[in-house]
Symmetry: C2
């Protein structure tokens, strides 16, 4: 092989402006895809070693999570599938009180995906990883034929180090605990739905997609020990509260009046027949914690831009029914159940 | 909500024999999918906690990897996508000398996937995880519409603990090092191709898909310190050798006569115009190590069922061209390059 021959082959590969099946072959074009598009954006010594597994240093207890992202469309107001794929696992780590450290990403690309779309997604992932303080150390790329995928699917996995002791978990929840949420609910669900279906001419709603670790770090630094943390993604706040109440065996009572939903989200929900409590969020934190530290936690959350609109939405009852109860504006009480069926497919 | 209403809803969900979009909604049907199909097969205390991230104990240095699996068809002689998804990451860990410890799996299911197919894949994953000694501690499931996927895609991620010091890596390779392979090449590629296209009436070839850690553990226990380990998957032996030689800057010389390829694989390759050196393997190990420990390593590999047919296939030259050279049966020498383009799409 001469240098010229090698140069020609690389030049031929570069001329294509879309992903081809050959980019998934594991050979030179895969290598080129990695070297031209992935490595420059995520450069670090561990990744650059390009070993079959990343070698990382750790000690003690670790948190480990994985999440798949199939959102449609891949770009939407306030985010894209790349930002979502980083935030998703960072927020899973934050939900057990773990600081995000190492990230791995697997891509399933559809043949014909334009490289400029891939590049935008990768740029967004790289920027979000920097924002979240997590380092991408491993990756994989597969390509499937046209019609066997949908642009890009991304699966991320992440390792973090727990910073809360004990780690927040439902069995710590006690009667009298306060229930807080870090801001407005349903923005992500409506933003993606609008990007997909264009129901409304103009809708001032953007996804809340953001890494939540700063909020949890803030609580940890303030000495607050939450009993449970959750990010209400698919299935929304209602599903998270139903799961928490069922898991700890205590009833939760939420006050509908206090649950923050933006006007345009509420309006869109009314027109479309959706319940904002079941809409997906990608940058909100639900905190269950002792009443004694609730005010301090609210103050801490509000001091961070992500938690500016944090508020108290309910309380854990001395009632072992394990039900999630919603006291409605008109004074009635209804039971919140886990989302049954599919409200909005491929919302994340 | 009455117990009867809940029971009815669950019964309705259970009646479906295929995956529906609602199984990806993050609510009750997702929960049911997890509780009925996933948890029983992978039961362990860490997973059962069902936290947003698995909490695992670790110390010191770790290996971390991710790999996506899109093989078509999902069942093939000698394996299936579930077995492949476990072996793939276990073998990535083995390639850096790490013992497999913790596994995470993300599923992208196509609407309409029959549950009996999902169950077979999950059974196979669970059995392979037990065989490999790795514990599934985290998972995720998404469902996409019919025509936006192809049955099942699985992305696995894994954490392992390095047991070789220094970890094998190309920069350790020295002139004079021996090159070994643990057995016959190309079985996986031909088995999948035959399952997909039925080129031949009967072909006695099954995938070699297997977890390689026992081979690496054997080498470690024998005190052998390999300079490099690789599992030649997509792109085959040729691509691995081309990558290793390029990475260490030394030429490799392989002896075609000594490279083990089964008769039926060789015959199928001749008829189909394929080169067995570029075919994917999913249970083979390439070992580069000091000549002084080559015989002991061969003996160790052969003492394990997976390495029964291990043999020596080449040597690292005192030649800084970084080329991968193949001395052919008829006496000529050709340069092995990384796979250029796509030989067999979706082979893993």
């Amino acid at each position: 092989m001469s240098a010229i021959a090698r140069g020609n082959l690389i030049a031929r590969g570069s001329e294509s402006s879309t992903v081809t099946l050959a980019h998934g072959g594991g050979g030179r074009l895969t290598q080129q895809l990695i070297e031209e598009r992935f490595l420059p954006r995520f450069r670090n010594a561990t990744l650059d070693a390009l070993l079959d597994s990343a070698l990382i240093s750790a000690h003690g207890r670790l948190a480990f999570t994985t999440d798949g992202f199939v959102v449609r469309p891949i770009f939407f107001p306030g985010g894209d599938i790349g930002r979502l794929a980083v935030c998703g696992v960072v927020n899973d780590l934050a939900s057990v009180g773990a600081e995000p450290l190492w990230l791995a990403a697997s891509f399933i690309l559809e043949e014909g995906l334009p490289f400029d779309q891939l590049d935008r997604v990768l740029d967004s992932m790289a920027a979000t990883a920097r924002e979240a303080g997590i380092v991408l150390v491993a990756g994989d790329t597969k390509v499937v034929e046209r019609g066997a995928g949908d642009h890009i699917y991304i699966v991320t996995s992440a390792i973090g180090e727990p910073r809360l002791d004990p780690p927040p978990q439902p069995r710590l929840i006690r009667p009298g605990d306060a229930v807080l949420v870090s801001g407005f609910l349903g923005d992500h669900g409506i933003a993606v739905l609008q990007a997909r279906e264009h129901f409304f001419d103009e809708l001032p709603v953007v996804s809340d997609c953001a890494p939540l670790w700063p909020l949890v770090r803030g609580l940890a630094e303030a000495g607050v020990i939450p009993h449970a943390l959750r990010d209400p993604t698919r299935g929304g706040l209602a599903t998270v509260i139903a799961e928490l109440s069922s898991a700890c065996g205590l009833a939760f009572s939420l006050d509908e009046d206090t649950i923050p939903v933006r006007g345009p989200v509420q309006a869109a929900c009314e027109i479309l027949g959706l319940d904002p409590l079941y809409l997906a969020n990608e940058g909100k934190l639900v905190v269950v914690l002792p009443e004694a530290s609730a005010e301090q936690a609210l103050e801490t959350l509000r001091s961070c831009p992500l938690g500016r609109d944090a508020c108290r939405i309910g309380v854990v009852l001395e009632d072992t029914s394990g039900l999630a109860l919603l006291r409605s504006r008109i004074g009635g009480t209804r039971i919140l159940e886990s989302l049954s069926g599919e409200q909005l497919p491929r919302i994340c």
